[in-house]
């Protein structure tokens, strides 16, 4: 995918920092925190500021190309995948896995008259890698 083009399509001027941040989010698929993104990119962009990472992610969210995962820990994680999907967080190693689910099955009849904008499914436990250790 052409990242600069993808940003432009969503009304975001493709600056160097924005391209790098989106590229990281999109390629790594590791649901990083702001700190993880910052630490990784400051090697390539020595002048990078954490504030820029915050600003940029907020912009991405406004423009609808990034979503947040607040599975716990008072630390927000970010995700470039916008399809409805859930997350599994391993309480042992901290990794976050994507899980597909079909939400139409989940009883939503209680929410009649409500305007649903966003749905998140979070599952916590231990991943198979940690279990087999």
């Amino acid at each position: 995918m052409n990242i600069a083009h993808h940003l432009s399509e969503h009304d975001i001027k493709p600056s160097y920092q924005r391209i790098k941040i989106y590229e990281y989010l999109y390629k790594e698929m590791n649901h990083p925190s702001v700190d993880t993104i910052y630490k990784k990119l400051v090697g390539e962009i020595p002048t990078l500021s954490k504030t820029t990472v915050y600003n940029t992610l907020k912009l991405f969210i406004d423009k609808g190309i990034t979503s947040t995962v607040t599975i716990e820990d008072n630390e927000v994680r970010y995700d470039a995948i916008m399809d409805a999907h859930g997350h599994f967080k391993c309480t042992s190693c901290g990794a976050i896995y994507d899980i597909k689910y079909d939400f139409k099955d989940v009883a939503m009849n209680e929410l009649k008259g409500f305007e649903v904008k966003e749905t998140q499914v979070h599952v916590k436990g231990k991943c198979n890698q940690c279990l087999t250790k």
Copy 2:
């Protein structure tokens, strides 16, 4: 329900503060934050410390009589209902509603070999009260 007894059953000594905090959680059912609990109870218990609220909720969680709802906002909310259920958060008024759901419908086949301990379903949008205003 006899709260002192309920606490004792779960290996928690029923001190005055603990009873009051659990009582608030159980009766109000409003998924309060630490700050909400503190502000409400400090009228009745003028010497109450916010640290006590934190300590007490952590103890309740350890003993399995309280769960957390981290739907967003970097502010943890607490819940005395321990049955599996989801939450709807109104982005307009901030209220959190309980929603029942049948989790067996949600595709969990991807999590074979994983040990699932906890599941949360979060829905965001606008509640009917805010929509009809």
